[in-house]
């Protein structure tokens, strides 16, 4: 439980951090809340020679609403997000999702940027990011760019962020009338990560489901959308039978993980159960 030796830097700006990344290359790792990186260091699963601690970069911490968007700084902690009024009123599902991550210590330290950059297969946030169609904003030596949620999660613990880049913020939509979203999660009892986590977003037009996005995490190596289930719901009234049909269509195209906490077979069954639960709640909210 003692990490290998490392050099430590604490830049004050994003540009400084990018400079340090350039200088140290592959030897360097960004350190945010440390709740994924430090356990890996302590178990010596990771031994970076240089840590660049971005937790003191003020510009990464802001949470603002800009028109119909919420812009959450990559360095915002789960607790800051979960208790933020603009988030709670504009995008409750995000607050609810981060409010269920780990325990209070984890929520006090862990950041949205760290979680999304780490892309743990069992992390909660990727499901919500996919369902809401969020945008991940990054900055690198060549300037800023944005990554669409659907392009973000490439493989297990691999994202579309390039090695020299720093995630600066994540943009979420503010949900309006006729829109609803919900997150439903089966917790791994020790870590409280998601064994299966399903986020659902729906938009009603009159009495009909006009749009639906479903993000699933925990089940496979990487968080994914559920196009078949989404398509099954769109155009229906979103009644119980339609939800059941959509839930039944969920779960294909995932390369399921199996471990001591849940077999692949069980994860597959739970994707359907939790899709039903998330859709039911999202629809209830959209109608409210």
């Amino acid at each position: 439980m003692i990490p290998a030796p490392f050099q430590y830097f604490a830049p004050k700006t994003v540009n400084e951090a990018i400079g340090l990344l350039q200088q140290h290359g592959d030897d360097a790792k960004l350190l945010a809340g440390g709740h994924s990186l430090l356990p890996a260091l302590k178990l010596r699963l990771a031994q970076p020679a240089v840590l660049i601690d971005i937790s003191r970069v003020a510009e990464l911490k802001s949470i603002t609403s800009e028109g119909d968007r919420l812009v959450i700084g990559a360095g915002a902690t789960y607790r800051e997000i979960a208790t933020n009024e603009a988030v709670r009123s504009g995008c409750l599902v995000l607050a609810e999702c981060v409010g269920q991550i780990g325990d209070i210590q984890v929520r006090n330290r862990g950041t949205i940027g760290g979680s999304l950059a780490h892309a743990d297969p069992a992390a909660d946030l990727p499901a919500v990011v996919l369902a809401l169609g969020a945008t991940i904003n990054v900055m690198g030596p060549n300037g800023a760019r944005s990554i669409a949620a659907d392009d973000m999660f490439v493989a297990m613990m691999t994202t579309a962020i390039s090695p020299g880049e720093v995630m600066t913020s994540v943009t979420f939509p503010i949900l309006g009338k006729g829109e609803g979203a919900a997150y439903a999660k089966l917790r791994q009892p020790a870590s409280r990560y998601a064994i299966v986590g399903v986020a659902a977003y729906v938009k009603l037009d009159g009495g009909t489901v006009a749009a639906c996005r479903i993000g699933v995490t925990g089940a496979g190596a990487v968080a994914v959308r559920q196009p078949a289930a989404e398509a099954a719901l769109v155009g229906t009234s979103g009644d119980d039978a339609a939800v059941a049909a959509a839930a039944n269509a969920a779960g294909d195209g995932i390369d399921y993980l199996g471990d001591i906490h849940a077999s692949a077979e069980y994860r597959q069954a739970m994707v359907k159960v939790y899709t039903r639960r998330a859709l039911t709640e999202a629809l209830r909210r959209a109608r409210a």
Binding site: M1, I2, A4, P5, P39, L43, R44, D103, L186, Q188, P189, A190, S191, I195, I260, H261, A262, S263, Y266, A269, M270, V273
Partner: protein, 793 residues
């Protein structure tokens, strides 16, 4: 404690623990808080393989690393004997294999220590471990106790063919066979009691200092039994006089049994401190605690219970494979034998019972006593089978229990399995009280209604009996059955010139609050203010020999030693008072700290006056020695047998398999109660550990012998929100074994709870046809049990 409160009895009162102001304000001194001048830090290199030959070890790079003081391997420590196995129960013959301080030639589990680095700080020591080069030749691995005994299984030790440590039995096989053959109904199951990781909040460790001038060691270590440890280390491991070692247990952050035993770190810190001439500290990290320190449970059991359709149980036959790990820990063979097999019939009068236990070596960490130690396994087995039987014959499980309970007039009761007789009990009273609190009849109605709506409620009963205060020495000490040593306790009580009372005991707390309860007893019995009594413990210098704190024995055995020393003090005080009052000693009455002649309470001498007289000593009865100072060595005539009934209510979500534990009722009978708050605390913590086994915890090794649940990210110790509030109550059936009528409460909660929860889960699943499922009832296990039952029917 104020002066007014003094006059009322303290025993029976929920006095706040005197230990707590210190401990909860961060003022405790735990092992890792201790820093000695010149102290060095040890780190252990452990085998990544579960079974391998060590072909070579190259420590040269580690030795050259800046800040490293020394690096040692097993070859360097051949002057140390292997660690002892003190309880070779079950006719363990010539196949004892205990760990060496560091492995020599071969490793037998992942985590087996291979080399030791001593450095200026812990970071350097850890870094240098990575510089040691070890060449291993991997060998085949077996982790499952039953598979380990099968032909062709990998063999761990040459002297233990088929990996069998012992084959032990109790009861009457012919009678059990006949009962089962003749029975109207026989229910059969394979029941697995999964391996658990004890997980004390504070991990284990040791700090050793050596004084070359006197050739003496001082060892600070996280031990529940410092006197025994001193004996084992000196007489067995080092071969030095016992008097050359002082062992001190500082504040201990929970033990649960794991801190009873003689571990290698005590020995290697001492050995290295002597070698390098500087103190050496070793503290496990959590991963090491999980890999190396002892685990609990791990039984695979085939069980048959026979009975009649009227609900009478007529026979029980049990075969258990008890996984003892790669080597024998200090008292490992005693756990699945004396503390399990001999109480396998539980609270019931079962006329024909037989149990056979195989103790087995596997490529896993050692298994030894863990809170409850054998009794949780026994209690789980019989309580699960009684429910299974009740379901089979369609009878109410409470009724089946009533029908088969050992009745109150049958005590002392001999269960025929080689225990001394159960001391006292009223099992039905505890059951009825629990049923009343839970509202049993109403629940059954609610359950039936809920089922109609597709909701699955279940209720589980556990009526347990257990063994505490294991004794007497002439029974448990017998070689072949027991320790080959006694299990008494001692206490010294002194009343100083100032009237202050100093008690030293061989018992010691690591969370049980004995500083408080012992002081309550002494204050009451001597009639002195509570604050005038201090309890000293945990240091072999200055306390009389004691066997330590485990097996819920501190009060029943150690507390009784205190009580008896106090009685002796009172006798002497009466003689002195008689001398002072010029009266006949036989006419003296000791009451509330005063001694007077029967009938004249106004002319009294206080204990303070008597202590002063005894201490200044110029006017004492002819021939009397000065001072009020008395010691007792108390060897009880029997164990005590606490009992009770716990009831759990659950709701199961059939879509996910999630179990919601809605209510938990505990009615315990631990005899007379000294401090009800402390008893409740012990019960609460115990229940949490049993619920943990039922719903969350399991230690998992993969087939290569790697501990998959090697960190708290995978081993699910429940947090507060994963446990329900507990509704506790008591019945009181005093023990006739000891003068205070006490039994013990440290483990009861754990012994009672796992099966209450599992019986509830299985009751909830009855509509699906589920008859049994293994622990833990994780969502997936429940979900699979439902589907398996559905596809079978």
């Amino acid at each position: 404690m104020t002066a007014e409160a003094m006059s009322t009895k303290l025993v029976g009162q929920a006095i706040k623990r005197r230990e707590d102001p210190r401990l909860i304000t961060g003022q405790g001194t735990f092992l890792d808080d201790i820093k000695l001048p010149g102290m060095t830090h040890a780190c252990v290199l452990r085998s990544p393989y579960a079974h391998a030959k060590i072909k070579s070890i190259d420590t040269s790079k580690a030795k050259a690393h800046p800040g490293v003081v020394a690096v040692f391997t097993g070859e360097d420590m051949l002057d140390l004997n292997p660690l002892p196995c003190a309880w070779q129960a079950g006719r363990v013959k010539n196949n004892v294999n205990t760990p060496r301080v560091l492995a020599v030639g071969e490793v037998h589990f992942a985590g087996d220590p291979v080399a030791l680095v001593i450095a200026e700080d812990r970071y350097i020591a850890r870094d240098a471990c990575d510089l040691i080069e070890v060449e291993y030749e991997p060998l085949p691995v077996v982790v499952d106790a039953k598979k380990a005994t099968e032909p062709g299984a990998p063999q761990l030790h040459e002297n233990a063919p088929n990996n069998i440590v012992m084959e032990w039995e109790a009861g009457d096989k012919a009678k059990a066979d006949a009962a089962i053959a003749a029975a109207e109904v026989v229910v059969r199951e394979q029941i697995i009691n999964q391996r658990l990781l004890p997980t004390p909040m504070e991990t284990r460790g040791a700090i050793a200092r050596y004084e070359p001038a006197t050739d003496e060691f001082t060892l600070w270590t996280t031990s529940q039994a410092p006197h025994v440890l001193r004996l084992l280390l000196t007489a067995f491991v080092f071969g030095i006089p016992e008097t050359k070692l002082r062992v001190i247990s500082p504040d201990i952050g929970g033990g649960f049994g794991q801190k009873i035993f003689c571990y290698n770190d005590a020995a290697f810190t001492m050995w290295a401190a002597r070698k390098i001439g500087r103190p050496v500290k070793f503290v496990e990290d959590r991963s090491e605690n999980y890999k190396y320190s002892t685990h609990g449970r791990d039984h695979i059991t085939d069980v048959e219970l026979a009975g009649n359709r009227d609900g009478t149980i007529t026979g029980l036959r049990v075969t258990t494979y008890a996984n003892l790990g790669a080597y024998l820990s200090t008292i490992a063979p005693g756990i699945p034998t004396t503390l399990y097999g001999r109480i396998i019939t539980g609270a019931y009068r079962i006329p024909a019972a037989y149990v056979k236990v195989y103790g087995v070596y596997t490529n896993t960490a050692m298994v030894d006593a863990y809170r409850g130690a054998g009794r949780p396994e026994a209690s789980y087995l019989i309580e699960r089978m009684v429910d299974r039987f009740a379901a089979e014959i369609g009878m109410d499980p409470a009724e089946v229990r009533r029908k088969n309970f050992i009745p109150p007039d049958a005590f002392p009761y001999d269960n025929g399995l080689g225990l001394l007789p159960y001391d006292s009990g009223n099992y039905e009273a505890a059951l009825n009280k629990a049923l009343e609190i839970v509202g049993y009849a109403d629940f059954r109605k609610e359950q039936a209604e809920a089922r109609k709506q597709g909701r699955y409620l279940g209720l589980g009963i556990s009526s347990y009996v257990e063994i505490c205060g294991v004794a007497p020495s002439k029974w448990i000490g017998l070689p072949g059955e027991g320790w080959g040593a006694g299990l008494w306790e001692s206490a010294n009580v002194r009343v100083h010139l100032t009237g202050k009372v100093v008690v030293t005991t061989g018992s010691l707390p690591h969370g049980q609050g004995v500083e408080t309860t012992f002081a309550q007893i002494v204050a009451d019995e001597l009639g002195v203010p509570y604050d005038d009594v201090v309890i000293e413990h945990s240091d072999t210098l200055g306390t009389p020999f004691g066997y330590g704190t485990y097996g819920s024995r501190s009060l029943a055995v150690g507390g009784t030693a205190v009580y008896r020393s106090v009685a002796k003090i009172k006798e002497k005080a009466k003689k002195i008072a008689a001398h002072m009052l010029e009266a006949n000693p036989d006419d003296m009455v000791y009451e509330n700290g005063r001694v007077y002649v029967k009938g004249s309470p106004d002319r009294a001498k206080t204990l303070g006056e008597i202590a002063l007289q005894a201490s200044v000593a110029y006017d004492l009865p002819e021939g009397m020695e000065p001072f009020l100072d008395e010691t007792s060595y108390y060897d009880p005539p029997n164990c005590t047998f606490p009992f009770g009934t716990h009831i759990a209510i659950v709701e199961v979500d059939p879509d996910t398999g999630i179990v919601d534990l809605k209510r938990y009722v505990a009615v315990d009978d631990c005899g007379n109660v000294i401090n009800p708050m402390i008893v409740d605390g012990q019960i609460h913590g115990g229940i949490a550990q049993g619920i943990a086994q039922a719903l969350y915890e399991r230690a998992v090794y993969d087939e290569n012998g790697q501990l998959v649940t090697g960190t708290l990210m995978d081993y699910a110790v429940p947090a507060a929100h994963m446990l329900p509030p507990y509704e506790t109550a008591r019945t009181v059936t005093p023990s006739p074994v000891n003068p205070m009528g006490v039994k013990g409460a440290g483990e009861a909660g754990t012994i009672a709870s796992a099966q209450a929860v599992m019986n509830a889960v299985i009751d909830a699943l009855a509509p699906f046809g589920v008859k049994h499922m293994q622990m833990p009832a994780t969502p997936e296990n429940v979900w699979k049990a439902i589907r398996a039952a559905q596809s079978a029917s």
